[in-house]
Symmetry: C2
Subunit: 318 residues, 2 copies
Amino acid sequence: MVGADSKPVIGIIGTGAIGGFYGLMLARAGFDVHFLLRSEFSAVAERGLQVDSAVHGTLTLNPVQAYAKAEDMPACDWLLVGAKTTSSAGLAPAIIAAARPGAKVLVLQNGLDVEDSLREWLPDSLHLLGGLCLICVHREGPGHITHQALGAVNVGYHSGPAMGDAARMALVEEGASLFRAAGIDSQAMANLQQARWQKLVWNIPYNGLSVLLGAGTTPLMADADSRALIQALMAEVVQGAKACGHDMPPAYAEYLFTMTEKMPDYWPSMYHDFLHKRPLELEAIYARPLAAAKAAGCELPRIEALYRTLGFIDRRNT
Amino acid sequence: MVGADSKPVIGIIGTGAIGGFYGLMLARAGFDVHFLLRSEFSAVAERGLQVDSAVHGTLTLNPVQAYAKAEDMPACDWLLVGAKTTSSAGLAPAIIAAARPGAKVLVLQNGLDVEDSLREWLPDSLHLLGGLCLICVHREGPGHITHQALGAVNVGYHSGPAMGDAARMALVEEGASLFRAAGIDSQAMANLQQARWQKLVWNIPYNGLSVLLGAGTTPLMADADSRALIQALMAEVVQGAKACGHDMPPAYAEYLFTMTEKMPDYWPSMYHDFLHKRPLELEAIYARPLAAAKAAGCELPRIEALYRTLGFIDRRNT
C-alpha cells in the first residue's frame, strides 16, 4: 500500500504532551498523522491541537485526524507511543489495532525496560523501538501544550523481525529521519539500553526531587544542598549503568547538570502526574534501574532512599 | 547555702515542651523550680502551666515561679536547658546569670556535640551534663503542653570540675535521682556520647521524614516504603556510631522501631519547628553525626541525602 517514496502513515497512541507535540510537528511537516485520544477526544476533534512553544512560537493543527477508538484509525507504518508507562499493558490492543503488518512501534517513554513491558503483548511481526525525548514540554489543558525548551529524540531498536545490526540501524535511521524532517534533532542510537540509562541520569534526580521538594529545576539548581544531592544521585546512576555494562560518555552527568542550569524553570512530568493525582512512574524510572543495578551487585542507596519516599508519597496521593 | 538534706534549687532555661514538662513534674514533686521564659512570660505568670498527659492526666502548676530575665532568678543548683540547639550560643549568658558556683547544667537537647557548642561559653566551674529525653511531648500554646507517651531521661556527664569517673557518676546519679523523685524513669549513662548516638537512631529517621513526608509516626510505620527507609536509616546511624567507637546495644534499632509502632501517632519536634517556620535542628541532628562518621571514614549516603533535602526545605521555610 505504501510505496518507497510515499510518506509513512503515523499513528500517535496517547496524545498527551509528548505525543501531541511530536505528532503536531510531524503533521505540520507534511506527514499523514492520526491521533488516538481518550478523554480529550471531543475537545481536540472540535478545536484542534495548539502548542505554545518558546522555540517555535504558537503552532496549531486544525483539523486534527482524531480518533476515540484505535479500530477506526487507518493502518499505520509508524506508531508513536506517548502514554504513561503506568498504563503500558493496556496500550497493546490499541497498538495492534492501528498497526499495519511490519509496522514500527516507537515508545517515547522514560525509564528502563519500558519496551519489555510492552513487547510481551505485541505480535512478533511488529518492530519495537525506543525513543528518548530530551524536551521540556507539558500539557496545559485539553489539546493545549506548552513547549519550554529543547526537543531532541534519540532512537534505538529494541526487538522485532529485523535481522542483524544493519537492518536494525536502517530502521532506527528511518525513525530518526522522520523527526529530522520535522525540524527535530534526532540521533540513531546503536544501544537502546545505554540510551535509556543516559536519560535516567537526568530523570532520576529531577523527576523525584520535583515531587519530594515541590520545586522546579530553577530553585533546585539554585540551592547548595539540592545541587549536591542532584550530583550525588547522578553519580549513582552513572555507577549503576556501569555495573550493568553501560559506560556513560565522559562527563555526561556534568553535561546534563550544566544544561539544566541553562534551562527555563521546568517542572518534570512526574510533578505534573503528582499534581493531577495520577500514579507516578516509579516502576520504570526507579524500581527497574535499582533492581538491574542490584542484580549486577551494585547498591544505589541515595536513589533507593528517594524511591522509598516517592513510594510513600504516591500511595498517599492516588 | 544548700545543705546535704535540702532539696536543690532548679532553674529551667527555655520553657517549651521539654522544659515545661519536666519543670512542672519536678515542681509538683516538691522541688523548688524556677522557669525562665521569653515570649510566653506574661501568659505563664498569669495562668500558670498545664500539661495534658495521656499518662498522668491533666496536671497544672499555678502559680509558677516565672521570670522574664535570668538575672532575676535565684542562684540555682541545677539548670535544665530545654531550648533549641539552634540558639545554644545565646543561652550561655542566661545560664551563667542563674547558676550558683559549681552548679550542674543539664542539656535536654537532641543531636550530637550539643554540649560542646555550649561548653565554650561557660566558665570551667560549671558542670555540664547531657540528658536524652525519650518522650512524646509538644507545645500546644503558651504554657500549654500535650504529653502523649513515654518520658524517660537518660543522663550522662560531659565536662567540668568533677575529677575521676566516680565523682562524675555521682553527679550523674544525683541528676537521675531528681527525675526519679518526680516519677520519671531516668538512667545514669557512663558514656554520654554513646547515649547521644543511641538517641540519634530514633531522631535521624523520624524527625527528618516527618518534615519531608508531612507525616507523623503512625502513617510512617504503616507504609512498606517508609518502613524500609526508616530501617535503612537506622542501620546507617548504627554503622556511623560504630565507626565513631560506639557500639549500640544488641538489636537496639529493632527495639526503637518496635517501640515506635506501639506509640500513638507522634509528630516529632522537627515537624513542629517546620510548621511554625522555626529553623530546623539540622546541624545537631544531621550535620555533626555525618561529619563525625565521615572523619572516621564512614559514609552514610541515605542520611546525607535526607539531610540535603531538609537543608533545601529549611532554607525555603524560614
